[in-house]
């Protein structure tokens, strides 16, 4: 994770196109300016960033399944639960599974695990919109290649 860059996913570990599911690796950094405020002397990964990690994981799944045809953007989060506190240095697995697909949206179920234990979960709704430019699409592809999505 590069929290300051809002990059929550370090590596795609498994993509199952048939099952429409994905697993990603997220390494919580030992140091980050985020931890300076959350909280001073007691650093914890903010719960909102746990949900962001799940959302990004699901977004990568959509990109892969749609071959980068459209850009997924977060439009809704339901049933979000943060079940444990996550400290710097933790290694998390983010999992996403597509559960419903419409013409302009995708719904996915996601969760975050630490040492096999569920620490967060949410139902994620992503709108799928045209990429703002071919350059942006190429940049996203480049990042996807970097983290092993393609």
């Amino acid at each position: 994770m590069r929290l300051e860059k809002f990059q929550m996913i370090d590596r795609v570990e498994r993509l199952d196109r048939a099952a429409r599911s994905i697993t990603c690796r997220c390494e919580v950094p030992r140091e980050s300016s985020v931890f300076e405020g959350h909280f001073p002397g007691h650093p914890l990964l903010p719960g909102t960033l746990m949900i962001e990690a799940i959302a990004q994981c699901c977004g990568l799944l959509v990109l892969a399944l749609h071959d980068f045809a459209r850009m997924p953007v977060l439009v809704g989060v339901d049933k979000a639960r943060m079940r444990a506190m996550i400290a710097p240095g933790a290694v998390l697995a983010a999992e996403g599974r597509l559960v419903q697909e419409g013409a302009v949206y995708v719904a996915a179920a996601g969760r975050l695990l630490s040492e096999g234990r569920k620490v967060a979960e949410a139902e994620i709704r992503l709108g799928t919109i045209p990429f703002p430019s071919e350059q942006f699409r190429a940049d996203v592809r480049g990042f996807a290649r970097q983290i092993g999505l393609i």
Binding site: V75, G76, Q100, E101, G102, A103, V104, Y105, A107, R125, G127
Partner: protein, 99 residues
Amino acid sequence: MADYKQETFDVVAGIIAEVSSIDRTTIAADSHAINDLGIDSLDFLDVTFAIDKKFGIKMPVEKWMEDVNEGRAKAEEFFVMHNLVRHIDDLVAAKAAAA
């Protein structure tokens, strides 16, 4: 007014009322989802999600918007309630026929 199923109308009106926090009794067959009911684009995405899920269909809302934006159809054709419901009935029938 186009033919539509009252039971479909009731389900769709219920979804819109719940998603958009609109008084169900204000939703009539000739209500325009956007102009009269004030449903914004994000609400409409949620409404589409709920309708797709309820009826097991995929409403081609992007195609509808393209048709409106490119002058091939009027917005009323898709977004006035009785027309919207008729389109949903058609999609449900097409799905049943394809099964």
